[in-house]
Point group: C2
Amino acid sequence: MRDVSRLAGVSRMTVARVLHRSGGVLPTTQARVEQAVSALGYVPDRAAGSLSTRRSGFVGLVLPTLNNANFASLAEGLTEALRPANYEVLIGYTGYSVAEEERQIRTMLARRPEALVLAATGHSPATRRLLEPGRPPVIEIAELPDQPLAHAIGLSNEAAGRAAADTLLGLGHRKLGAIGPGRDGDRIDTRGEARLRGFVAAVAAAGLPTSLALAEGGLPNSYRHGAEAMAALLAQAPDVEAVFAISDLSAVGALSECQRRGIAVPGRISLLGFGDFDIGQQLVPPLSTIATDFPGMGRAAGRMIIELVAPPSTGAGGLQQPALDRRLDIGFNLLERGTTRAAGPAGINHRKASHA
Amino acid sequence: MRDVSRLAGVSRMTVARVLHRSGGVLPTTQARVEQAVSALGYVPDRAAGSLSTRRSGFVGLVLPTLNNANFASLAEGLTEALRPANYEVLIGYTGYSVAEEERQIRTMLARRPEALVLAATGHSPATRRLLEPGRPPVIEIAELPDQPLAHAIGLSNEAAGRAAADTLLGLGHRKLGAIGPGRDGDRIDTRGEARLRGFVAAVAAAGLPTSLALAEGGLPNSYRHGAEAMAALLAQAPDVEAVFAISDLSAVGALSECQRRGIAVPGRISLLGFGDFDIGQQLVPPLSTIATDFPGMGRAAGRMIIELVAPPSTGAGGLQQPALDRRLDIGFNLLERGTTRAAGPAGINHRKASHA
DNA sequence: CTGTTAGCGCGTTCAC
DNA sequence: GTGAACGCGCTAACAG
């Protein structure tokens, strides 16, 4: 910048004014400065700027994994909503590990994010301490925890699990199985577990056995994991009638396993997933699933952040509102497509339930 | 930090020494400081540190899209390789847009990355200027461009396209189609286009018509796009014998479309994709594809960066080596799985070609 | 409309 | 073994 100001024959302050379009600069001066900037290929140092402004200009997003279309959509929604306010989004991922989440949050905090959006699950005590008031605002997303850190945008995963069970029961199925998330060291998918919990609760409430609710395999959820779980399920109960998979990923794997074994879906087994992944829509038959608006959650989080923190461009605020604990329920839609069917002789059933 | 030093009754200098484990501090003093740090929940300000050290401690990774398992693997490989050297990875994505890539690179440059890894495609002239020498080292990844910016790690996508054609021809197919990447405004998938180009060249070299090499649909590549392209292909040539899709994503969509129409794959049509996505392995039949080691490319990039730039922990280097233009060919494997079969009466053919 | 001064939070050199 | 002083590149507040 010093070079630029010298080349343009003005002070560094004037250069700054041109760069920020704060006006009050003579057109001729401005032109000289702009020329110098492009001649030198000068790009202002954001780190130094932040240090001075005390506004880092970015929002941290902590994801469990990159390899999941739902989280990708979430990230895109957030980025999109934050762009007009001139915020950048920094993405970190944890592989569902609680320790890794703590590490990620700590390194993000070191760069002083204006806000933190947490899609990772299962916060450690140290993490909770790290995020106490006085710190940047925190939004937990894709769930509505019992003990939220602050703000939350998402859905009740337990309710989604219950809805899955109720739908399968409503179809007349009585022998219900589930493919849960499993655990792997300190890796934990609390949302998947909540869905499984809701499912089990609803099945139990109907007076039916819940021993077929599997929770094994590794994390992150994967196609292969779903295929393996389906195989285990069939070994345990060859006459299982309906299966809920807590992720479309495992549902797709389960569907493939059935196809490999010549088991008709939905003829002999009804299959229901969660997440409404693109792949599920394309499959033959198309996967029945529970859909949530992930891009919408991201956008909502972006809007909330803009509300909580004045955008960096104005330079005005930065003050955090008195912590008005807000939670936003996005709800979900249960989509009965091609992999679910009423029990008994050739039942056909098309329904669509909406929960918000 | 000021607060910490006061609480511990020492100078800020001593606090810094404890934080960096540079030694030369009395155990008792050290304990006092550590206690103060955790009592206050103090996290050092990295931005200020970077300003002073002139080492930002992060590497920028620019991806075309988040919603693609190959790029997710790439990111994981890079992160993994860079972790021991204490680098963080900042991820940006462009949606395949050339203008957006320029914007992303500019904002990254503003934070002074130690290196840049570019998986996005189709650099604008302004981008090339931005990345001229004197700037951080740049690694282009997942391709080996004719006019590389500097270093490159990847494969020849043209060679992959040629291999696809050769394989399909070798199977005895004569009526070959392809599903390319399409363009959408300034969005461009140069790698997909290179694969298509290689394919077309090989088909032409065999003296066969290339009119069935489609390049339409939007970006990013998607299942739906593949299904639509397959429909278009069948409308144009109902008797097409073999199809190469430049992405497994579109290949899976094409396979679904065939299944919906009752067209046997590989019975009537051979189908070959690219990318070796998890989903392709799980499908019935499993998708024939071209595999590349994406995590490996990420790790190789990480190692190259560590070689080019001394890690921030040592604080020693930061100097860029004399630009030894390096290109690393990772090669690819053509995997004939369940969706390709020799033409004619019940031909069976299992081959596995390796190119590096 | 433009320049000067001070300081953001930290690391580093040198004294003590 | 510990502390004081300066500077990293930039911007906020004020002066001219």
